[in-house]
Assembly symmetry: C2
Homo-oligomer: 220 residues x 2
């Protein structure tokens, strides 16, 4: 005889599945936004910009579904906390989509010129790879609630911070030849990648707290 | 005989009172952060930086209280939506506190030098005034749920955007004499003020939606 699962548990699993879907979409968007930046591809940039509405719509529908579940099922204790945490993760993921969108808009703004000077391409490529590592692991943490992976996300984010500092160091080099406009672009792009990864770290911390009831860090 | 209010209504009013308190604190923090920037006052900057922990603590306690109310009272329909909206407003306000904190950290980083070159002081002062107008009205909207004021917040935010563009125009002037480091500072400071005001606009929109069930805008 099959093990009977409650309808409520199915609804919670459905919420998790949508969060995983959202996390996958925003990760793909940031990968594509990075590629658009490195290759000055306005076609890819337009795809990222167009896909942001889809992220917003999925997040919005998910939020309505979560509030509906709370109203109908009236969960308490850990189930209620899980649903509130899902609402917060939905907001983090929606914001990660916004960051990919912002990066793609800089590609489009500077097209047909490249926003990134050639000597910074390698650092930006590394930045793209390091935020993908953080975001992929964040997706796994949402799906599996694996606490070791949740802790790894924080460590992986250190590499994003290191590359962010490296970008600033390049801008501040006295021989910086690219003018203020490019410096502004790089400053904002660096901030968008950092914030993207910060939201992934927030999600990992939320899962850690949900499972253990304790914080994985000293501050947020 | 006195009109009898429900304990639940008192709890909702308590939530609103704490949101108003938080909104007042983060507005004061941004005013002080602006003053620290304009006068290169590291003392004021330190006060803003120290007060951020208090904002985080109040927001955190409020979130726990809201979740506890949902668990005990099991509200449905408009009461549940009001409590979920309060959770989101708490997150917006906490983030507004972070923005004031970030501005104050730039004052401290550049001290004893001024982060803002003298020819931009007036624009920054206007920026500080315009975000205070937005934030003060946001506090009123939380307290009164006044829909006209909620719509005004969006219009007032246009002035913040105008000043933000003016800052960038100054940076991009070919005769910009202050080097890349100052350009990076101004780029980030401009972004912090813009985000601070964006969160106030989000709060006004959340209140509008809560009261009317319709959106005050086309996109968020």
């Amino acid at each position: 005889m099959a093990w009977l699962r409650s309808a409520f548990q199915d609804e919670l699993d459905g919420v998790t599945a949508t969060l995983v879907e959202l996390s996958t979409i925003v990760t793909d968007s940031m990968v594509k936004a990075t590629h658009s930046l490195l290759t000055a591809s306005v076609t890819e940039a337009e795809e990222v910009i167009a896909s942001d509405d889809r992220v917003d719509r999925i997040a919005h529908e998910l939020d309505s579904r979560i509030i509906d579940i709370i109203a109908r099922q009236q969960p308490v204790a850990s189930d209620l906390r899980a649903l509130i945490t899902a609402l917060r993760m939905s907001a983090d993921l929606e914001r990660m989509g916004d960051m990919a969108h912002h990066v793609a808009k800089i590609t489009r703004l500077r097209h047909p010129a490249a926003a990134i000077p050639s000597e910074l391409l390698l650092t930006m490529e590394e930045m793209g790879k390091s935020v993908k590592i953080v975001a992929d692991k964040c997706t796994e943490v949402i799906a599996d609630r694996d606490l070791n992976k949740a802790l790894e996300v924080e460590v992986d984010d250190d590499e994003v911070d290191r590359l962010h500092r490296k970008l600033f160091t390049s801008l501040l080099d006295e021989s910086w030849p690219h003018g203020t406009e490019t410096a502004i672009d790089i400053t904002l792009i660096g901030r968008y990648y950092e914030r993207f990864a910060d939201h992934a770290v927030s999600i990992a911390r939320r899962v850690y707290f949900l499972v253990t009831g304790t914080y994985s860090d000293k501050k947020d």
